[in-house]
Symmetry: C2
Subunit: 349 residues, 2 copies
DNA sequence: TTCGACCGAGGTATCGTTTCCTCAAGGGCG
DNA sequence: CGCCCTTGAGGAAACGATACCTCGGTCGAA
C-alpha cells in the first residue's frame, strides 16, 4: 500500500557494498567469517544509507523477538506500573525487554481475542489475571510460554504465581481487630458469588479473621465497589457515612481504594487512626506518602516478580529446546506469602 | 532452534481441510469468494487444530501491525500511566492498539538504540522526550511516523506536541506570590545549565514570575533533585529544613515530587497551606486525593493526547499513501496552553 | 445457442531476514 | 608435495502469511 519511499533493505546494502546479503547479515549480527576490510565497507554503506534491520522480518525468520509481553488490566494503576518496573529491571540484564499492553477490565470478547492474538509475537508472556475469566484464558492456546500472575485459583493450563489474598486480608483484618476495631468496613469487598475473583477472596479473608477472633460481623459493612480506583473508594466511604452506617475500621481491597477512603475520612472530619483505622492491600510506593502513612499488606511484590521470571525463563528454555524433556512438564502453581507492613493508619498495639 | 512441537500453520490447516492456503487465508480474514460449505469446513479444522495466525508473518507481508508504540521514560510514573490510558482509550475505536515500552531515563546508548530499533515494528510511534538527548533522536531515522510529546524545543525532525513548561510554572509561581508567599522553593528545579530540559524550563517560569511581580529571589531556594520521584521530593524538603532554609511556598517540578513534599511538611509539623503553600505540575489524578488536595498546573493533558493522535493519524495516512503529497510536509510543533487548577494546598485569594 | 460476467478455488511470487550448505583459496603440517 | 582444515564469501531455502493472477465452470441475458 505504502506509496512513500521504500525503506532501505539488506539487499540495498548488499548491492551498494557489492557483497551478498549473507555477508551483510553477518556483519550486522557480528558473526565471524567476514574479512575486516569487507566488514568495514559494509558498515560504511549501512551508515551512508541509514539502513536499519526490519525487526518483523528478523523475528519471522529467527522465530524470536527478544521481547516479553506483559498484559495488565489498566495502564494507570500504580500496582501494575510498579510490577512492570520490577519486571523490566530484572529482564534488562538478560537482553530481553518488556512490552506492556492493556487487556482492559471488561472488554468485549473480540477485543480480548485481538489482544491475545498479538501476544503470540512475544517470546514469553506474563498475564495478570484480574478481570479475565477462565474461559477467556482457555482460548489462549498458543505455544508461547505463559506465566499467570494472579489473584485466584485457575485451571492449571499455565504456570501461575498467586498472591495469598485470603490470608493477606485475614492478617490485615485481624490487625484491626487486635487494635480495637469492632465494626470494620470491607471496602471494595464482594460476597454472595461463586466467582473466585480478587474482591471475593479478600472478603473471604476478612470473614475468616472475624471468625477466628470470634468477633460478630455486620454484613452491611461489606461495601462493594464497581471500579477499584481512588474516586470509587472515596465515593463509597461518603455513601456509608450518608447512610449512617457506623464503623471504626476499614479494610480496603486495594491501596488505591484506601487512598480514596483516607481522603473521604478527612473530609468527614474523621480521624485516622484514632476514630477509624485503615489498612490497604498491595503495598504500593504511595503508602509511604499518604497522610497518615498507610498500613498495607505486601503481597510479596519482589518475590512475585522474581518467581514469575524464574518460571518464565524455565518455560522459555524448554520451549527453545535447551531442555526438550521439560517442555511438557506439568504446570506449577505457587502462592507467595503476604505480610503486613504496619504504618500510621492503624493504632499501636 | 525450537525442538518443541511446531506451531500450527496455515499450511497445516489447508492440508487438513483439503483446500489451498489461499482459501484458508480468505476464510480467516473474512474475504468473499469462498463457498459456505468450504468456509465451514475450514473453520472446523481451524477450531480442531487450534490454529492461530502468526502475527509476525502477517505483519511482514501486510507491512502493518495495527499497533502504536509509546515510549516512556519510566513505567511507574502516574503521569505516563495516565497519558497511556488516554491514548489507549482514543486508539481503541480506530482498531489499533497501544503498546508501551520503557526508554529508561539515562540508559546506555546501546540500550536506547535497541529500544529505538524495536519501534520500527509499529505503524506509528509516540515518544515522550524527557531524558532523551537530541543526538539520540537524530539517530532515529526510520520511516515510521513519529510524534514527540515533550517538554522542550527540539530539532524539528518530527511533529512535536509540547507542554508550556515556562508559562505553566510561571502561572503556578505567580499564584503563590499573589497569595502571599515570598520565599518560594523551586523543588526539583535546575539552573545554570544551557540544556533545555523540563526542570530547567519550569525553573525558568519560576524566575519569570518573580521578575514580573518584582519579588526578589534567593537562589538557594532552587533545590535540585536527582530523580523526580516521591522519595526525592520528601528528602529534599527534609534537607532544606535541616539546613535551616526558611520558606513559605513550594513550586514542585511535578505532582509526584509535590506529594513527597507534602508528606515531609506533615512530618515537620508545617501546615499546608497556612504556613507553606504548595503547587504541583502535571495535574495527575492523585491531586484530588492528597491531604490537602494539591493545587496543580494542568499542562492540557486531554488536549495533548488528542493533538498527538491527530498528528500521528495524519502522518500515518500520508505514509500509507492515502495522501502521498502530504508525506513530506514540514513537521509541526505546537505548544498546548497550561492552566492552573486551584485546590486546597494554596490559600484563597 | 452463445457470450460475458461472476463465482469458487488454487498457483505462485513476495515481504526482508537468517541459516544451512557449498565452494574456492590459502596455509600449516606430516 | 599432498592433504586437510580454516577462512571468506555466496546461493538458495526457509519463516508463515497475503495478494495478484489465472482458470474452469455455471448462469443469465441477448
Amino acid at each position: 500500500m505504502s506509496t512513500g519511499p521504500r525503506a532501505v533493505t539488506i539487499g540495498d546494502v548488499a548491492r551498494a557494498a557489492q557483497v551478498s546479503t549473507t555477508t551483510v547479515s553477518k556483519v550486522i549480527n557480528g558473526l565471524p567469517r567476514v574479512a575486516p576490510r569487507t566488514r568495514e565497507r559494509v558498515l560504511d554503506v549501512v551508515a551512508e544509507l541509514g539502513y536499519q534491520a526490519n525487526p518483523t522480518a528478523r523475528n519471522l525468520r529467527a522465530g524470536r523477538t527478544d521481547a516479553i509481553g506483559l498484559l495488565v488490566p489498566e495502564l494507570d494503576r500504580p500496582y501494575f506500573g510498579q510490577l512492570a518496573t520490577r519486571l523490566a529491571d530484572a529482564l534488562e540484564p538478560t537482553g530481553r525487554h518488556l512490552v506492556v499492553q492493556r487487556s482492559g477490565l471488561s472488554r468485549a470478547d473480540e477485543l480480548a481475542a485481538a489482544s491475545f492474538a498479538r501476544l503470540r509475537m512475544y517470546d514469553g508472556v506474563i498475564i495478570t489475571v484480574v478481570g479475565l475469566n477462565p474461559p477467556d484464558l482457555e482460548q489462549l492456546n498458543f505455544r508461547t510460554p505463559v506465566v499467570l500472575v494472579g489473584e485466584r485459583p485457575l485451571p492449571r493450563t499455565f504456570d501461575h504465581v498467586m498472591m495469598d489474598n485470603v490470608e493477606g486480608a485475614a492478617t490485615a483484618t485481624a490487625h484491626l481487630l487486635e487494635r480495637g476495631s469492632r465494626r470494620i468496613v470491607m471496602l471494595g469487598g464482594r460476597q454472595g458469588t461463586t466467582e473466585q475473583d480478587m474482591p471475593t477472596l479478600r472478603t473471604l479473608g476478612y470473614y475468616k479473621a472475624h471468625a477466628r477472633l470470634g468477633v460478630p460481623l455486620d454484613e452491611r459493612l461489606v461495601a462493594p465497589i464497581r471500579l477499584l480506583d481512588m474516586a470509587s473508594g472515596y465515593a463509597a466511604v461518603r455513601r456509608l457515612a450518608d447512610d449512617g452506617v457506623a464503623f471504626d475500621g476499614i479494610v480496603a481491597a486495594t491501596d488505591v481504594v484506601a487512598i480514596g477512603a483516607l481522603r473521604a475520612l478527612g473530609d468527614l472530619g474523621i480521624r485516622v487512626p484514632a476514630d477509624v483505622q485503615v489498612v490497604g492491600f498491595d503495598n504500593i510506593d504511595e503508602t509511604e506518602f499518604t497522610k497518615p502513612r498507610l498500613t498495607s499488606v505486601d503481597p510479596g511484590n519482589e518475590q512475585i516478580a522474581a518467581t514469575v521470571l524464574r518460571f518464565l525463563e524455565s518455560r522459555m528454555a524448554a520451549h527453545s529446546g535447551e531442555q526438550p524433556e521439560a517442555a511438557d512438564e506439568p504446570t506449577v502453581e505457587v502462592t507467595i506469602p503476604a505480610r503486613l507492613v504496619v504504618r500510621e493508619s492503624t493504632r499501636p498495639a
